[in-house]
């Protein structure tokens, strides 16, 4: 093993990436773990916002619909990097003002929580549109059938609309998840030690830019491939009951 790495001139890289000091491997993995926590949290928050947003856009009153239209338009129009800067600094400013008003001192903003909120709000705008489209694609007759059998509105949403819209929503939601994992890298600009920032620090301390960014790229790629497998399963489940184009039975 060592012989092979030596002959390829990779021994140094292996050492730099090793998990125990002086290797930086542990730092990269910690960054990855932070990135995934934020991505998960933001994605979940985005789905919740998206579900309410979609229902609000479809069935809400005029004011609700206008507010949601502003939300989704603005969020999707402004570059994510700018949004992150705005939401992060405005958010922490507001929290500190509130804290000061209540006689407290400066609040230490938790990076993971802040990242989840900031990216979650961004994700929510896209999820709103994906879910709105998916809900509209559910045949009206299925919702009407539920109604005609005395199902209350919330139960209809839970038992009929949401399961029926899943097959329309999953491809879009899978994309959104991948965007979430990659958008965590943007949090590096506010000094949050997710994978990209950890990588940059490791790289600049050791001058081994190529090694570390390649390693980070590899980690992002693994996340994507693994997500692909998971979402393929989810999609298969969501499409249950629908004959596939290739005609493979159920």
């Amino acid at each position: 093993m060592t012989g092979l790495l030596d002959s390829l001139g990779l021994a140094q890289s292996a050492e730099l990436l090793s998990l125990s000091p002086p290797g930086w491997g542990r730092n990269l993995l910690r960054g990855l773990s932070h990135s995934l926590q934020i991505a998960f949290g933001a994605y979940a928050l985005g789905l919740v916002i998206g579900l309410f947003g979609a229902y609000g856009k479809l069935y809400g009153g005029k004011v609700t619909r206008d507010l949601l239209a502003i939300y989704t338009t603005v969020i999707r129009a402004v570059p994510e990097l700018v949004l992150i800067l705005i939401l992060y600094y405005v958010g922490s400013d507001i929290i500190n003002k509130i804290s000061a008003a209540m006689g407290g001192g400066r609040v230490e903003i938790n990076g993971v929580a802040a990242g989840i909120w900031v990216l979650g709000i961004v994700q929510g705008a896209y999820a709103t549109e994906i879910l709105r489209g998916a809900i509209q694609a559910v045949p009206l007759g299925q919702i009407e059938a539920a109604k005609s059998y005395g199902m209350p509105a919330i139960m209809t949403m839970r038992r009929v609309t949401i399961p029926a819209m899943m097959s329309f929503a999953v491809p879009g939601l899978a994309n959104l998840w991948l965007i979430a994992t990659k958008d965590t890298a943007l949090l590096a600009v506010v000094g949050f030690n997710e994978l990209t920032l950890e990588t940059r620090q490791a790289a600049s301390s050791t001058r081994a830019y190529f090694t570390f960014f390649l390693a980070a790229g590899f980690l992002y790629l693994m996340v994507t491939l693994f997500s692909g497998v998971i979402f393929a399963r989810i999609e298969k489940w969501a499409r249950r009951g629908q004959p596939s184009l290739t005609g493979a039975g159920r």
């Binding site: 007759g141 009407e144 109604k147 005609s148 005395g150 209350p152 399961p163 029926a164 249950r240 159920r250």
Partner: protein, 265 residues
């Protein structure tokens, strides 16, 4: 006056027998007045066939009865219980509407089965989740009902893998699962290929024979004549003529009905 059925001058007993009573029902879509004062009574065990040209308001009337469509005005009484309505016709008591709807099972032209659920799941859905019947009990009953409509071996199949006739029979099983006091059929065979119509009509004929109360919108005149004990002819939102099938089909009085019957014959 177009009060529907000659209700034997309402003594208490016959009142209790009224499954559905519609009085002076009006419905407009914007400027378009689709129902212009329809009154109709169906007693327990009645099979009322509703016929009429396209756009005459048959579906609208049926849909107003379970408030899938909000009436503009009128009175609707289901099993002796008057549905509470606001002045604008919208139901004022959501709980009451939901409760009443579970007693009125609707069978749709387009079946409207839940495509992400197997036939068995479709049939147990309302009993388990709305009526709170224990699941094991609902499953036993669902198997019986699927057996009855000839789909005993399809319980685990999803609707999309079935023919239209099979889907409609499953939809009828779903309707029976709530043990409805009235079944509402809106052109149950119109979306079917001709060779599949028979199997669905056979099921409905059986239900009529066992004394189920039904309102049946249909274009199958022969069938209406055979199973109904009362026929209502709707023309442009009004009941133009009604009576026993032998009268309505055999000896129509109104010229419009005569013309309609000759056009569909």
């Amino acid at each position: 006056m177009d009060t529907a059925k000659a209700v034997a001058n309402s003594d208490e007993a016959s009142l209790n027998q009224e499954a559905i009573k519609v009085e002076d029902l009006h419905k407009s879509f914007g400027q378009l007045e689709v129902l212009k004062g329809v009154s109709l009574t169906a007693c327990k065990g009645d099979v009322v066939a509703i016929i009429g040209g396209s756009g005459s308001g048959k579906s609208t009337m049926l849909r107003c009865i379970n408030f899938l469509e909000t009436p503009s005005s009128g009175k609707i009484t289901i099993g002796g219980e008057l549905v509470e309505m606001h002045a604008d016709g919208s139901p004022s008591n959501r709980r009451q509407i939901e409760r009443i709807r579970t007693r009125l099972a609707m069978v749709f032209q387009q079946f409207n089965l839940w495509t992400h659920r197997s036939l068995l799941e479709n049939v147990i859905e309302v009993p388990v989740h709305v009526l709170k019947v224990p699941k094991s009990q609902a499953i036993v009953r669902a198997h019986e009902l699927l057996e009855r409509v000839g789909l005993g071996d399809k319980a685990d199949t999803y609707p999309a893998y079935l023919s239209g006739g099979q889907q409609q029979r499953a939809a009828i099983a779903r309707a029976l699962a709530v043990d409805p006091s009235v079944m509402l059929f809106d052109e149950p065979t119109s979306a079917l290929d001709p060779e599949l119509v028979g199997e669905v009509l056979t099921v409905i004929r059986d239900l009529a024979a066992e004394g189920r109360t039904m309102l049946l919108v249909t274009h199958e005149m022969k069938f209406a004549r055979e199973v109904a004990n009362h026929v209502v002819y709707l023309y442009e939102g009004r009941i133009e003529e009604q009576g026993p099938p032998a009268e309505v089909f055999g000896n129509p009085k109104s010229d419009r009905l005569k013309q309609f019957l000759s056009s569909v014959a």
